[in-house]
Symmetry: C2
Subunit: 355 residues, 2 copies
């Protein structure tokens, strides 16, 4: 059993990684939860694969539960779905001492965490992330969110789970494209961490090898993120390094209107930010091509016509990480050495003009 | 200047009470906020009285601001208003380093706190409460909320303000009924605190005297609540005593469908719970009539036909403070000595049958 401890200021919890762990989640859940009622939040993709089995397993262990299924896809991170799920939680009669389980990818995790965070001013919740992106990224750190017209993840809270159970076997039931997009976040972490983690990633030459090394890739990514989050739960400073590749990535993702998956946009963002900073002489020569090599090895995109779209700048100006008329980029001095660099919005166009 | 310090686990802030303080709020705001943009959230009742002056005062001090006005009344504590205010905050371009000011009664405070808590996962906010209820109750403790069909305040967060400015002069512009309802919460606090606070309340024989003694009544109530909240920010235990009179009160309020104001329902709840516990021999004889005397002195209701409605029990069964099939009542052993008593839902009807 691989296990990573996440310690935040007010809470500590474990991320357990094991093939087949979703066959009997109750075994681990009962170590953190007394018997209680719970809602299992899932989506239309994951429901037929796991919801019935998980629900039955929990019922047998005395966790009376109800499954709530939302449509698969980013569109479920909306006010409408949020209010509808919370109404169903209330109709089910959940009390403050009950809980919510998010069973699915990043959308289910972000939405479920927000539901748990808001219902009766906060009930406990656990995550069973089933996509690689959710397993390595959104399942650690306690960020919850929905999207609004003005921006992605613009509404949310910090709400830490009591437990995260990661079953790498779940990846075998996903489209390859979905696993590959999650791998962009793995490359992001590995490039910042360096060392043996980066070496491991350097050995991945095809999508199939992601699955083969999934438990270790997940553990390393989660451990890297857990370390950062432990030191800065609410993104006061250090946690911002997790946004490596995301300023440009988010903008491209938004403008693609669904054509690009989040991880694909992050891949484009990572490629771009490394190229830009290498051209400015801030990133050691050769780093951009090394990172791009890792992304390209599994078929992730390195560029997109949207990078030439002037609206990219406009969207970056509205990024929620903008403050006091400047935007802070995360870049690599070299592999294993992330750093921050602040650019005033007036100079942003010129600075990234070299994309 | 009367001042009460509120210390919670993660944050400390001041509640400043002074007649006329809303003439120049910037003087105090700049002690806790660097210059920043802000949204002033208010409602259609308060807007014409204070919003323009406050906005101008803040602008002159370098706090660029925008006023957002929502319809007065509990109906604004809704998903629709919440999402609409947050969209306007985003359109105004508020960043994480900016802030929100809640200028109004309890509805504006609850809604504004939730907007600030959710926007970009939390921005800072301050409260300028203008009704007595908001000044003595909802402005301290960091509870934010909206209502849903299944219950009042069922969706919310804990989000502490950076500063609370209370102008007792604001009460002079309110309907007497609105000031009197707020006074029910003052009586609630005084009965639990006892001592000089209770003596002060015992001298109030008419609504006009509430205004005369407003600064001290507010200070005593805020200090009592601040002390409780400091020791139990998230209602793990002790904070529950603030629900004195609220279990029955909330049910009656809900069933009255707007006929009873919150404080009027609390008054009915306080009268009922004292009578019930005195009849059960748990409250010292004479306490019920003493508390009822204080409420009746300013014209607050002591009973209502809804108390005979069987739906009161049904609503209490769905109270969000219910857990593990029981409901915990707060009662008084005697004036100045609150205590808790748990009743199983099976026995609830019989227990409160003596209303």
């Amino acid at each position: 059993m691989r296990s990573v401890a996440v310690d935040t200021e007010n809470k500590s919890y474990s991320v357990l990684i094991e093939e087949g762990i979703l066959e009997n989640p109750a075994e681990y859940l009962r170590k953190v939860w007394t018997k209680r009622r719970c809602v299992i939040l899932t989506d239309t993709n994951v429901y037929p694969l796991y919801a019935g089995k998980v629900s039955e397993n929990l019922s047998e262990a005395g966790f009376e539960n109800m499954i709530i299924t939302v449509p698969a896809g980013e569109r479920s991170k909306s006010w409408e779905t949020l209010s509808s799920v919370i109404s169903r939680m209330a109709d089910f009669g959940l009390t403050r001492g009950d809980g919510l389980i998010a069973l699915g990818g990043g959308v289910v995790g972000d939405l479920g965490g927000l539901c748990a965070s808001l219902y009766m001013r906060g009930i406990s919740f656990v995550q069973f992330p089933t996509s690689l992106l959710a397993q390595v990224d959104s399942s650690v750190g306690g960020k919850t969110a929905i999207d609004i017209d003005q921006g992605k993840n613009l509404v949310g809270t910090f709400h830490q789970p009591d437990l995260v159970l990661i079953d790498p076997m779940a990846l075998r039931t996903l489209d390859e494209r979905v696993t590959v997009e999650g791998y962009a976040e793995v490359v992001k972490c590995a490039a910042m961490k360096g060392g043996t983690f980066w070496k491991l990633v350097c050995g991945i030459e095809a999508p199939g090898e992601i699955l083969k090394h999934a438990p270790e890739l997940i553990q390393q990514s989660v451990a890297f993120k857990a370390d950062v989050v432990s030191r800065d739960e609410k993104e006061g400073g250090l946690r911002r390094i997790l946004n490596f590749g995301h300023s440009i990535g988010h903008a491209v993702e938004l403008l693609s209107a669904g054509r690009l998956l989040h991880g694909e946009a992050v891949s484009i963002g990572l490629a771009a930010v490394n190229r830009i900073f290498e051209q400015h002489g801030l990133t050691e020569e050769g780093v951009a091509s090394a990172v791009c090599g890792r992304l390209a090895a599994v078929g992730l995109p390195l560029t997109d016509e949207l990078l030439d779209d002037l609206r990219v700048l406009e969207v970056m100006n509205h990024d929620k990480k903008v403050s006091k008329s400047s935007l802070t980029f995360v870049y690599l001095k070299k592999i294993g050495e992330p750093a921050a660099f602040t650019v005033s919005l007036d100079e942003l166009a010129e600075f990234i003009g070299k994309i």
